[in-house]
């Protein structure tokens, strides 16, 4: 008698997602359309190995602006996020946070651009607002998971505020600090990317240098960016924080003026659907026509390709993670190769998806391929790093197998669950980024949003941004359901 074998639910779920990804891939355009992609790649490579730090005088200023936007944006986001975390019990606060974090920094920036122009307010708020939503959620979770024992030991009659200050806050403080550091790293990436829509950060110079084929300048910009991110723990010390905040506030060019009447018109008139704005007796039929045209010509095709690209990118990220995490795992590689693996993973995870996609798009021409590869590289870099670090805590038995056998039997089964948890956690992040990559010309929602802004049709842009946010919230809900059902822990994602 041999016992029956039941396939594991973990593998079954993986299989379903894999099939969905394959179907999406079958309908995707992944052709390389440039005449000679290798020629341009060769020029890029030769530029990368000959960085030119003196190409423009504005390089250092761009770096300073990038840091200033990130520091102010993350600080403000932290402040708001902390406040919101305190009232996270309320349903309204939770909904509010879900909505503000479901809209990507770049979309916020496009909105604020209409109101404040190129004033630093645009950049700071674009980072602070979505970050506040994310930080509120994470801080609320940290406060919730704090050890309840000391709270019970307090003498009866202790006020809520005192209990919070003396018991809950000290416990959570260290977590807040380390999460803030992680957020600052994200903030630096967001800040760099904001340059692509015209703010004076690294992205702005990167785009210009790229369009002009100045690859040595591109290289210098990227190297400086990596150094800033990699050395973050050295320069970001708490006693220096006030210095950085004041410095950031002083350095930004606040002089750009904006008019209140302009802001008022944007908020009360420009974003109202245009048939409603015009009024008239047949307003409602016109509005219905406008809406159905929106849905069938933009919202639906945009949403379909956004979801399609997201699913392909999710699967590609998973597959690439399987290759990336061994690069830094002491169970599988020696010290030397691991060192190289660490550097490689730092580079791929520090480069924002948007910049990666932008580079690949120049090389391969417009299709979904650059976006897929960019999303997979960046996200697999992040998850691979976390999973690789996780394997450092695993000790194998003295007589364990070696080589590929060790990878498949000893290591992979042990990391599969946390890896899947991280992957599902990043699903929502990948969707947010997928929408954004549309701004580079791939027909996801971002493409239609960007065109709407370019045509000054803010009413359309707002409907499409709302739809993007809705998609995001849906994916968040599904992901939470799957993680709950498979009992996938997400404690790893904090580190």
């Amino acid at each position: 008698m041999i016992a029956r074998r039941e396939p594991s639910p973990l593998l079954r779920t993986t299989g379903v997602f894999f099939l969905v990804g394959l179907v999406c891939l079958a309908f995707a355009d992944i052709a390389i359309s440039t005449v000679d992609p290798w020629l341009e790649f060769g020029r890029l490579l030769s530029g990368i190995i000959t960085p030119d730090f003196y190409a423009t005088d504005s390089l250092w200023l761009a770096l300073a602006y990038t840091m200033a936007f990130a520091i102010l944006g993350v600080a403000l986001g932290n402040l708001f996020g902390f406040g919101l975390a305190l009232v996270f019990d309320s349903r309204f606060a939770r909904m509010f946070c879900a909505v503000i974090r479901s809209v990507h920094e770049l979309f916020w920036a496009l909105i604020f651009l209409q109101m404040f122009g190129l004033s630093p307010v645009t950049g700071v708020l674009a980072i602070a607002i979505p970050y506040a939503g994310i930080i509120a959620k994470v801080y609320a979770e940290i406060l919730e998971e704090a050890d309840p024992a000391p709270l019970k030991a307090l003498p009866p009659g202790t006020g809520r505020a005192s209990a919070f200050l003396f018991v809950r806050l000290p416990d959570a403080w260290a977590h807040f600090k380390s999460y803030s550091m992680y957020r600052l790293e994200c903030g630096l990436r967001s800040s760099a990317v904001l340059g692509f829509i015209g703010l004076p950060t690294l992205g702005f110079h990167l785009e210009t240098a790229f369009r002009e084929g100045q690859y040595s300048e591109v290289s210098a910009l990227l190297i400086l960016f990596y150094i800033v991110i990699a050395s973050m723990r050295v320069w970001m010390k708490r006693p220096l924080l006030p210095v950085y905040l004041i410095g950031a506030a002083l350095i930004l060019p606040w002089g750009v003026a904006f008019s209140l009447s302009h802001i008022g018109r944007f908020l009360t008139s420009d974003i109202v659907p245009h048939p409603l704005r015009e009024g008239g007796p047949d307003m409602m039929t016109k509005f219905a026509d406008w809406m159905s045209a929106m849905v069938f010509e933009q919202a639906l095709p945009g949403a379909v390709s956004t979801i399609q690209l997201t699913m392909i990118a999710l699967i590609a990220t998973g597959l690439l993670t399987l290759i990336f995490f061994p690069l830094i795992s002491p169970l599988l590689l020696g010290r030397g190769p691991r060192w190289a693996g660490h550097i490689f993973l730092v580079v791929v995870r520090s480069t924002p998806e948007y910049i990666l996609a932008f580079v690949l798009l120049q090389l391969w021409g417009p299709s979904m391929l650059p976006a897929i590869v960019a999303l997979a590289l960046h996200n697999a870099g992040i998850i691979g790093h976390l999973v690789g670090r996780y394997t450092e805590q695993v000790t194998l038995r003295q007589d364990s197998s070696t080589g590929a056998n060790r990878y498949f039997y000893e290591v992979l089964p042990r990391v599969y669950r946390p890896m899947l948890a991280l992957l599902f956690y990043r699903w929502e992040v990948i969707l947010r980024e997928t929408a954004i990559l549309g701004m580079l010309g791939i027909a996801t929602l971002g493409f239609y949003i960007d065109s709407a802004f370019a045509d000054l049709r803010f009413d359309r842009a707002m409907v499409l941004i709302a739809l993007t946010a809705l998609l995001n919230i849906c994916v968040d809900v599904i992901s939470r359901y799957v993680r709950g059902k498979l009992r996938l822990q997400t404690s790893l994602e904090m580190k």
Binding site: M1, I2, A3, R4, R5, E6, S8, T395, L396, R397, Q398, D399, S400, S401, T402, G403, A404, N405, F408, Y409, E410, P413, R414, Y416, R417
Partner: protein, 221 residues
């Protein structure tokens, strides 16, 4: 025929010696029990012997070294990963081949675990996990088995069955044991350790558990 010869050797963890002045010969076909207090150096001695035994040896470490996310079948099958091609192993990971399932099932059945063949190890009790780790060592093709407290989590009745299964399938067996009566019953040679030194090394025939008392008397008692 001598399998391992230790001559005045020392061993330990990261610089601190646990064993010192160790001289010991293990012959093929011997069934040895290592006895002594916890901390006397049994695990360190097993580690040392494992390193000297060559490729024909399988090991049951005290912490078992099981992969919790895999089934009993997979964990036992791991005893022969090195005998098969990676492709075959990969295939068995995803979709176990019938002949391998039958082979593994035979071992698992001798440990009374056959109804758990495709259960995840993470869902098993401590005793069942211990039997899985023994199954892995038994499935290993080598003739030599080293085990660190292999029956610490099962009842005495099961312990006898398990030790019998080990003796049936392996030629040379070296077990670290804390149950003196079982050690005398299943081993034909006892090696007693105290403070990292061999203080007793004799055939088990005719011994009684009380004869081992001096190994367990602490200095200040």
């Amino acid at each position: 025929m001598s399998l391992v010869e230790l001559r005045n050797e020392s061993a330990g963890y990261s610089g601190t010696p646990v064993l010192s002045g160790l001289t010991l010969t293990v012959n093929a076909g011997e069934r040895i029990a290592l006895v002594g207090e916890s901390g006397s150096g049994k695990s360190t001695l097993l580690r040392l012997l494992y390193e000297r035994c060559g490729p024909d040896v399988s090991l049951v470490p005290q912490e078992l070294g099981l992969v919790q996310a895999l089934t009993v079948f997979h964990n036992v099958y791991m005893g022969r990963l090195h005998c098969r091609s990676v492709w075959h192993n990969l295939r068995n990971l995803v979709w176990p081949a019938r002949p391998d399932v039958a082979d593994v099932n035979e071992i698992v059945a001798s440990l009374r675990l056959e109804d758990k063949l495709f259960a995840g190890v993470g869902t098993l009790s401590g005793g069942q996990q211990q039997r899985t780790a023994i199954g892995r060592a038994l499935y290993h093709p080598g003739d030599i088995l080293l085990a660190d407290e292999p029956v610490s989590s099962v009842d005495e009745h099961q312990a006898r069955d398990i030790l019998q299964a080990i003796n049936d399938r392996k030629q040379t067996v070296i077990l670290a044991m804390h149950d003196r009566a079982l050690a005398i019953e299943f081993a034909d040679r006892l090696i007693g350790l105290r403070d990292g030194r061999v203080v007793l090394d004799q055939a088990s025939a005719g011994m009684s558990p009380e004869d081992l008392d001096e190994l367990y008397v602490t200095a200040d008692a």
